[in-house]
Assembly symmetry: C3
Homo-oligomer: 357 residues x 3
């Protein structure tokens, strides 16, 4: 981790971020750290007023917060309505990414007919096949593979052992964590006789600008046409995107979620972890799927959904609450049956096996 050599003042940071200072802006800031790790000279940050006493008690030199707190904590404050965005920028400020020397390293395999921008970096053990095009300042780490005719935009970052198969298109500033696979064959087979015949998968994958994909995730190429991940969308680790899916812009999908082929997901959606979406469905814009949701029907309406099969959140919360009380409900029904029997001796239970659970 590279760290900054010189120490800015709190006011320097405020200027950098478009934030304001409450208290002494001349204090020098060494780095940024969470409360429990903050040392003298560090800027720390709070995500809610309830953490302010802890921040006040820490040795931190100053505190990043979203608004002037009701009570003064005797430390200078850096105030900005979006402290998370500030945090993102400050971490980058104090730990600037290392810039690699441009060029194709000895030990990289760039085939004849591939075009690599002179400011790009291709490490040993990276493969760039014929017809591929690598944009300016894009970095291909060791063990990455860019297939025939795939086109990568500018400022992309492919971590070690990423695979982008042939004919795919990546926009600018696309980040692929280690082990990501783009353009693997979709799961398409035609039943014939007693076995299956492979349906060749000859489409591609398009990742628009600012897409980031987590370690070990795989996005299958389309059988014909394009599997697409929209601008600014982020996938976490071990996510599975089936062939011909289209995911919209600025959508976030957490770890180990998956969607089967030909499903469409809108813009500004958010999936929790281990969500599953069946194939050939349409999920609208601004749909949030809570962790482990299992979607088996279209969800055209914005909102929060949960459960498997998924339902609107409020509804599923009621289902879950009732489920967790089921044994008591069974007892109540048994009790009702006995009471009714006392009132009406001719009453017999409907289901001879019903009283056992």
């Amino acid at each position: 981790m590279k760290t900054r050599k010189t120490q800015p003042t709190l006011q320097d940071l405020a200027d950098h971020l478009g934030a304001s200072v409450h208290g002494d802006g001349r204090v020098r800031i060494k780095s940024i750290a969470p409360i429990q790790a903050a040392g003298e000279g560090d800027l720390t940050f709070v995500t809610g007023a309830k953490y302010l006493p802890a921040a006040a008690a820490s040795p931190a030199a100053a505190v990043l917060i979203d608004q002037t707190p009701p009570v003064d904590i005797h430390k200078p404050l850096l105030i900005h309505p979006n402290p998370y965005a500030c945090l993102a920028r400050l971490i980058g400020y104090f730990h600037p990414p290392t810039q690699a020397r441009p060029g194709i390293r000895r030990g990289a395999w760039v085939e004849k007919g591939a075009r690599v921008h002179k400011s790009a970096v291709v490490y040993p053990g990276a493969s760039v096949r014929a017809g591929a095009k690598i944009g300016a300042r894009t970095v291909l780490h060791p063990g990455t593979y860019v297939g025939e005719n795939s086109v990568l935009g500018e400022d992309c970052l492919l971590y070690p052992n990423v695979v982008v198969r042939e004919d795919c298109v990546l926009g600018n500033r696309v980040i692929l964590q280690p082990g990501v696979v783009i353009g693997s064959d979709g799961f398409g087979f035609a039943k014939e006789g007693e076995g299956y015949l492979k349906i060749p998968q000859v489409g591609n994958v398009v990742l628009e600008d600012d897409v980031e994909i987590g370690a070990g995730s795989a996005v299958d190429r389309a059988v014909l046409g394009t599997t697409k991940i929209g601008k600014g969308t982020k996938l976490d680790n071990l996510v599975h995107i089936g062939h011909n899916c289209v995911v919209g812009k600025h959508t976030v999908i957490a770890g180990q979620s998956g969607m089967a082929g030909s499903t469409q997901v809108g813009d500004h959606c958010a999936f929790g972890g281990q969500v599953g979406v069946a194939g050939h469905l349409k999920i609208g814009d601004h749909v949030t799927l809570a962790t482990r949701a299992g979607v088996m029907e279209n969800i055209p309406e914005a909102g929060v959904y949960w459960g498997a099969p998924s339902a609107p959140m409020k509804e599923e919360m009621k289902n879950v609450a009732a489920y967790r009380n089921l044994p008591s409900l069974v007892r109540r029904v048994r009790h009702l049956e006995k009471a009714l029997k006392r009132l009406d001796p001719s009453f017999t239970k409907d289901d001879p096996e019903g009283g056992k659970p």
Copy 2:
């Protein structure tokens, strides 16, 4: 994507497929495309009569369909009882796979004592360890690894960064998508003292002919003996197969499914996505597990199963329907209790907490 240079007639295609033509077989076909993407000169296809009007309205030159439709759509038809299989063949016909020049490329690491057939292709960055054997026309892409004494048959295709560890056996025409791992150690540890002692995993993995495995999936080697995937079986992406599992022939397992160690799965099974099967179970032939099924008991009988713990499909559908109506059932029971109380003032509910949910 390689595309065909010459344009066959519809009759040429019918001859190629053993299909019949309805209408003018002399029309020239440029390529194959789904309805929404079909242009002039393309052959399109329908998976059901309800899509025929859309096919008729498209600019496509002809339509692939399973039988002569009741209404003429004024386009030549290509008729075959298995249009999916035709689709598979036609995609391959119009987009023939690129044939790589045979040979071991400079930058490939083939150890002394490995045998590579002269028609095989070993790309730079691929490793073939001592004692390994690579069959005719098999292709090892960059970053693939074939461990000591592993044997790969003919016409196998290992996409970039596939790992086949030592002592494994692949039949013919096995396809491993990028990042697949074959022969990783199984999860076997003996409790000893306060920790765990590793049980060395010295068995292997056998993949029979025509197996295909999706991106990022892993098949663990047996502790002793063999983990086996039967002929023609297909695994999707990010599937986990534990040590000593035996999966039968012509079985398909969709994305993110997994099975724990020593489980046996029969022939002609089909698993939906995100299915889980516990260890040491036996699943019979022709068992279908719907998406997200969680299997905790043997399933000897053919049929469709769903739910976690899984149950016969019809049963689980009733369970799910009742679950989604649970809050209403709770209300009905509460209402019954009140009604009974009115009939019999001495009635008291069984469960003092039961009325709260």
Copy 3:
């Protein structure tokens, strides 16, 4: 698989293991094998007295068992209170691991400023970046990557295509199966405008001594600070560990389980397969999560938990039993309603839709 050349006597094995012999200790043992695979001269093993008849009927020369059985089976016995640990040692004894010749192979890329112990092995296609340190006898297989300033202890084993990104620390005897990713960026983004701003992930990952991680699993680096996996902990395949998680010592986590960011898991825990744990939770010591558990709240108490949302095992087993009987409960309620209507003709059901399921 390497196998032993010379055949020890049963007594030799007993001495090696600290076990005792019942019967003739002079019998020569060829290898170790499960009952169904055991041949003449093999030692087999049973995990319970019910398998003794099968062991007796097998051609095996001797049987490993935890105690003297009540009935003599006419074969020499190797007796040890922990036969699993013996099994682990015996497999290693009969199939000793191959020792690779130390040194950096031609085709490995070790940057200037990296320190590789002279007894370490670095295969072709492995990358060791500047500032990294590789301990004694550690093996880096082809396609592995060790990032800048990462430190690997002694006797570590990184199988092909493992990625350890920059600044991470591995203890001694850490085993990473093929395709494991250590130190990938966590899933951290700040909402800004209509999209997301990446929060740079500048922390690291620490894997303590004797950690083993299964194929394709990923452990994200901390945003700031450290993601930690404690001594002796084992993760299975395709496991996802979010940024800033802390997993304790001697914990085992089965395949396809995952935990979101900042969650803490105690010592001596055990997770079944496909378990999910939400972020920012605390799981205590000695907590067992049964397969598919979905944890959404802290679990401070040792015990066994199941279900999603998870509950104590006994409670969830009752819930599941009641769930599987839900349609019958619905019928019983409907029957009660009818009976009550007969007693009291003025009775009407509470919920006009409730009777339909």
